[in-house]
């Protein structure tokens, strides 16, 4: 039997039973569509998260107080491990001498009420230096970001997010106004233009002030962390070593800090989301196997319904393998066409979702399309084998005496 004739015969059967064919196509296409959509969500989430890190730049290091290590065995002093000393502004200042460091931004965070003209709301506070603007790649909508502030100097200035501006100042011009923050006052010098989140805080809701003002406000000398921006990525390993060395020296020989590379964190998230996407694809692939089982069930019924036809084909000279090929071809056409339809629907819905949610980038990975098609085809072939074998092994006499 020629290939074209095989396709024609299989296709004519599928057309003859349109409802059955349609149901099987829907089942397979839903499976493929699920793979495309779920991987698009997974990849979109990965892109979003890593994008957030990339926006900050990959040449960042974070110095965090405390260090995880095994304790004990060295005597009573070490029983509790290394008790971390506070990370202070002076520590941040000491890092300025490291070669290859572009910016240093100490960070203090807290929350306190902010008041203006009788209006009050609780706001998250970030205490830092002007370097923070460069470190975070922020843009100002209006005004300046902490003018005159250095690691050593803390004039009473602050910048605010858009929501803080609209809620507390309304239609008044916030620039130049005195804002009461906790028991302190600071003059508003600018409005943050960037939207999004920083250290888990909505930038539209925050007040940013000099680091020393924040430590005084919260009556807490310790920093939340220090952000160190390297001039070049390749210098980061050396800078990391230098940071540990300097801080260790300042903390009486105790290595009580952890230095985290931004690119390493980003890589970790990247890996996590890759695994997540793969897991989503695997879960969705189950539906493809379900579709395969459905194809098998329906084709087993079809073998029974088409006994007479199978008997006839055998009577006029069809070999067992030709009968088998015929049923296998039907299964492959069903799963293949279903997979292609699933791809078209999946990618179309992805595009619609992109339009509906422009901030979230739905990115169906290329491998998902290939894998879903292959899984659908393999599923069709594997689950088509049993009905095909059953059809080919039918006794022609019994088959001919079957339904007519």
């Amino acid at each position: 039997m020629r290939f074209y004739d095989l396709i024609f015969l299989a296709f004519s059967t599928l057309v003859r039973y349109p409802l059955r064919t349609l149901m099987l196509l829907i089942a397979t296409s839903i499976g493929v569509m699920a793979v495309i959509l779920l991987t698009a969500v997974g990849e979109g989430a990965r892109d979003y998260i890593t994008g957030q890190f990339k926006d900050m730049g990959t040449n960042l290091l974070f110095v965090v107080p405390g260090k995880n290590e095994t304790s004990g065995g060295m005597g009573p002093v070490d029983l509790a491990g290394v008790a971390p000393r506070d990370l202070t502004v002076e520590d941040a200042i000491s890092l300025r001498r490291i070669e290859g460091v572009k910016n240093i931004a100490p960070i203090v965070i807290g929350e306190t009420p902010a008041q203006f003209n009788g209006l009050e709301r609780s706001v998250p506070i970030i205490g830092t230096t002007p370097s923070f603007l460069a470190v975070r790649n922020w843009e100002m909508e209006v005004g300046n970001f902490l003018p005159g502030v250095t690691l050593d100097r803390s004039p009473p200035v602050c910048v605010i997010g858009k929501e803080v501006e609209s809620e507390l100042f309304g239609k008044n011009n916030a620039i130049g106004q005195w804002l009461r923050v906790g028991d302190r006052r600071c003059r508003v010098t600018g409005i943050i233009g960037t939207e999004g989140r920083a250290i888990g805080i909505d930038t539209q809701k925050i007040v940013v002030m000099p680091v020393s003002l924040a430590t005084a406000l919260f009556n807490r000398p310790s920093l939340f962390r220090i952000a160190v921006q390297a001039s070049n990525t390749w210098e980061m390993d050396q800078i990391k070593k230098d940071i540990i060395r300097i801080i260790k020296k300042r903390h009486q020989g105790k290595e009580d800090i952890t230095v985290i590379r931004q690119d390493a964190v980003m890589q970790s998230f990247d890996n996590i989301f890759n695994v997540l996407t793969m897991a989503l694809a695997s879960i969705a692939s189950i539906s493809l196997f379900v579709a395969g089982i459905l194809i098998m069930n329906v084709m087993l019924v079809a073998v029974s319904q088409r006994q007479s036809e199978i008997g006839l084909l055998k009577a006029i000279g069809a070999k067992n393998k030709q009968i088998s090929y015929l049923f296998m071809t039907e299964a492959i056409i069903l799963s293949g066409t279903g997979a292609i339809l699933g791809l078209v629907f999946g990618h179309t819905i992805t595009q619609v979702l992109k339009l509906a949610f422009p901030t979230f980038n739905f990115l169906p990975p290329l491998w998902a399309s290939f894998v879903s098609i292959i899984v659908a085809l393999v599923s069709g072939i594997v689950f088509g084998l049993l009905p095909a074998r059953r059809a080919s092994k039918l006794d022609p006499v019994i088959a001919l005496s079957g339904n007519k």
């Binding site: 020629r2 009577a315 006029i316 001919l400 007519k404």
Partner: protein
Amino acid sequence: MIQLENLCRHFEVGNQIVRALDEVTLEINKKEYLSIMGVSGSGKSTLLNILGLLDTPTSGDYVLSGINTSKMNDDEMAHIRSTKIGFIFQSFHLIPRLTAAENVEIPMVLSGLNSKERKERADNALARVSLTDRADHRPEQLSGGQRQRVAIARSIVMEPDVLLADEPTGNLDSASSKEIIKLIEELNKGGLTLMLVTHDVEMGSRSDRLIELLDGKIINDKKN
């Protein structure tokens, strides 16, 4: 052309053995027109199935055109069915989704003939059964007699040596039956060996030779 030697076909039904054919010995000559008659369960269809290589005997030999078919595997038997044997069934067995011409082409499709040759042969076969104008009709658009003529065209399109007809007029009215009988008799006159299973005494009497079966044995073998 056909020799059956002590042919038996037994079926196990529960604990019992049913002897559908019992020690049948028969010789059929080329171009012979043979009718097989008998009551229901006498073994007519079993004999026809074995002659058509759709079934295999429990014991005994079946030699077709000098080839002993007893040791053939499924594929070899399929090849013989495809090239040497044509079938006509009581219920036509046309594939409903295909046109008359496509139904006639099916044996050639299975044999791997190219579409041009298939079309030529199918047109000729349909012309021989006077159905050229119905080539593009599906079975549901044809009368019973026309469907059987399509089945006849399909059975002869591979130019077989033997034509096996299992009650070919069983589902037809008398006018159509006469047409069909006339047609297959013409094919026999054209050189085909014809074996016809029938309940119809009148039809049986038209053949060159009539054998009668009872309980799997030939009880009568006479020339008309």
